[in-house]
């Protein structure tokens, strides 16, 4: 079952680039879909149907001056965006996207790293990613940035509890923390979206809050506040924060597909990655749909909902699932 290290390396390289491309085109998908939902066209100038818009945006961001506030603390200010992007991309390494293939006499696994505690790795990397936001906001030496990063951290820390608790049901049912095992279990049983529908809802809502998306996009709240933790960032450093946010969203969607919708399983097994991609596309579109529909919550509503509604529901779901797993 093991594969030589250089295959893993090639796979890692390919996946990182695929994730970056997916990020670029998620921004386009979001702008297009949001536009159509608001009776607009969205970007349609760069290339056919605006298909080159992400590349134009990238070139613009790279060429733009990366403003450096004179009072900012240099090292953390520069490192912070890199931390958040690194953790966002690294979390993707444990997500299985296929059944695995045989090529000549080598075996290629359907994931970069088959870790027995993959789920914990994802959550650990997610928590580390918060450091990027804290450090970035703090190092900018600006009141807006500091307040923004505090806002972000309070939200992320609150909702991470519910997020982790909501997947506990799935872990209990599968009896494993390895995402590969969880997907295999769902292939032989049913997708856990059925028996774990409460867990799915909790995971989804907590996931929206965790990735700073509407209606929980308090950390940025474009239409109300100064940007948030990335107030003092511009150019590609700001772009890296955006990259981290979108990749976090993609990773979370991928995690949702893996945990609740049977990952790469589909009618025809060798097409695994395609099924995975299609499910991912649907989940990401739902994220965008939410952004177009729901108004933003107030901050006290956000906190009340997180601690008083979501956390108890996720806890009860985990307890009931545990009881049922033991009883049956």
């Amino acid at each position: 079952m093991s594969e030589p290290w250089w295959i893993s390396l090639i796979k890692a390289f390919v996946i990182v680039n695929l994730v970056m491309v997916a990020f670029a085109y998620t921004t386009l998908l979001e702008r297009k879909l949001l536009g159509r939902m608001q009776l607009r066209y969205g970007p349609n100038r760069a290339g056919p149907f605006g298909s080159l818009q992400p590349i134009a945006d990238l070139i613009k961001l790279i060429r733009k001056e990366s403003f450096f506030p004179s009072s900012a603390i240099e090292l953390p200010y520069i490192v912070a965006p890199a931390i958040s992007v690194f953790t966002a991309i690294a979390a993707f390494s444990v997500i299985p996207f296929g059944a695995g293939w045989h090529l000549y006499h080598w075996h290629i696994n359907g994931e970069i790293a088959n870790v027995s505690i993959a789920l914990i790795v994802v959550f650990a990397l997610g928590s580390l990613g918060i450091y990027g936001f804290i450090v970035g906001g703090w190092a900018s030496e600006s009141k807006y940035s500091l307040l923004g990063s505090m806002r972000t951290c309070a939200q992320l820390v609150s909702y991470e509890v519910s997020l982790a608790l909501s997947v506990l049901g799935v872990v209990l049912m599968a009896g494993s923390l390895s995402l590969v095992d969880i997907v295999h279990k769902q292939g032989t049983f049913v997708p856990y979206a059925g028996p774990q529908v409460v867990g799915l809802l909790c995971f989804f809502i907590a996931g929206i809050a965790e990735t700073n998306r509407a209606p929980f996009d308090l950390p940025e709240a474009d239409s109300e506040l100064v940007a948030g933790y990335h107030t003092e960032y511009s150019g590609m450093r700001w772009g890296l924060f955006q990259t981290a946010e979108y990749i976090n969203m993609i990773t979370l969607s991928a995690l949702m597909v893996t945990l609740f919708f049977a990952g790469w399983h589909g009618p025809y097994a060798p097409l695994g990655p395609l099924w995975f991609f299609l499910k991912l596309l649907v989940v990401v579109s739902i994220f965008i749909w939410l952004k177009a529909t729901l108004p933003r919550l107030r901050y006290d509503q956000l906190m009340r909902f997180g601690w008083k509604v979501l956390l108890p529901v996720a806890t009860i779901n985990a307890v009931v699932t545990a009881a049922l797993v033991v009883a049956l």
Partner: protein, 164 residues
């Protein structure tokens, strides 16, 4: 009170919008017709015999709240007759980057020599290009902007604008 049913209805509304035709007017290809009384780029006018209507009285410059008009008059002489009156505008400049298109200049003008046209595509890459000289203002109008049919609107077109 949270109203879950209405929230779910909201999802239906946003989803339905996807299949409707966007109402966007795509500007450079489609130019929305301007109103007949639209106030755009200025024009200076001549009589049929070729003489300029402007007599260099500077009333427009005095009326201008943005102070964007500069007029330097000179005397007409028998061998250099430019305008119908005693004097003419030797220099007539409008700084379009300052102009607020209020139309006070055309109200102030006693000879209907200056009116505001329909042109609004007057962006330039350099600020210096925003200063319009007399020759540019006297030149025949550039018809790049469609004008809506005046009969569609019940506001009367002022005489000085119609017969300019």
């Amino acid at each position: 009170m949270p109203q879950p049913l209405d929230t779910i209805k909201g999802f239906g509304v946003t989803f339905k919008q996807i299949f409707k035709k966007p109402i966007t007017q795509e500007y450079p290809e489609f130019k929305r017709p301007v109103y007949p009384r639209f106030r755009g780029r200025h024009r200076l006018h001549r009589f049929e015999n070729g003489l300029e209507k402007c007599v260099g009285c500077s009333l427009c410059a005095a009326a201008c709240p943005a102070d964007c008009i500069r007029v330097v008059p000179a005397e007409n002489t028998p061998d250099n007759r430019v305008s119908a009156g005693e004097r003419y505008a030797r220099i007539y400049e409008i700084n379009m980057s300052r102009c607020i298109f209020c139309g006070y200049c055309e109200l102030a003008c006693p000879f209907d020599a200056i009116t505001l046209g329909n042109e609004y595509e007057i962006s330039e890459y350099a600020r210096d290009d925003q200063i319009y000289t007399k020759d540019m203002l006297l030149a025949p109008p550039i018809k790049r902007v469609p004008v809506a049919d005046a009969d569609l609107y019940d506001t009367p077109i002022p005489f000085y604008k119609e017969h300019a």
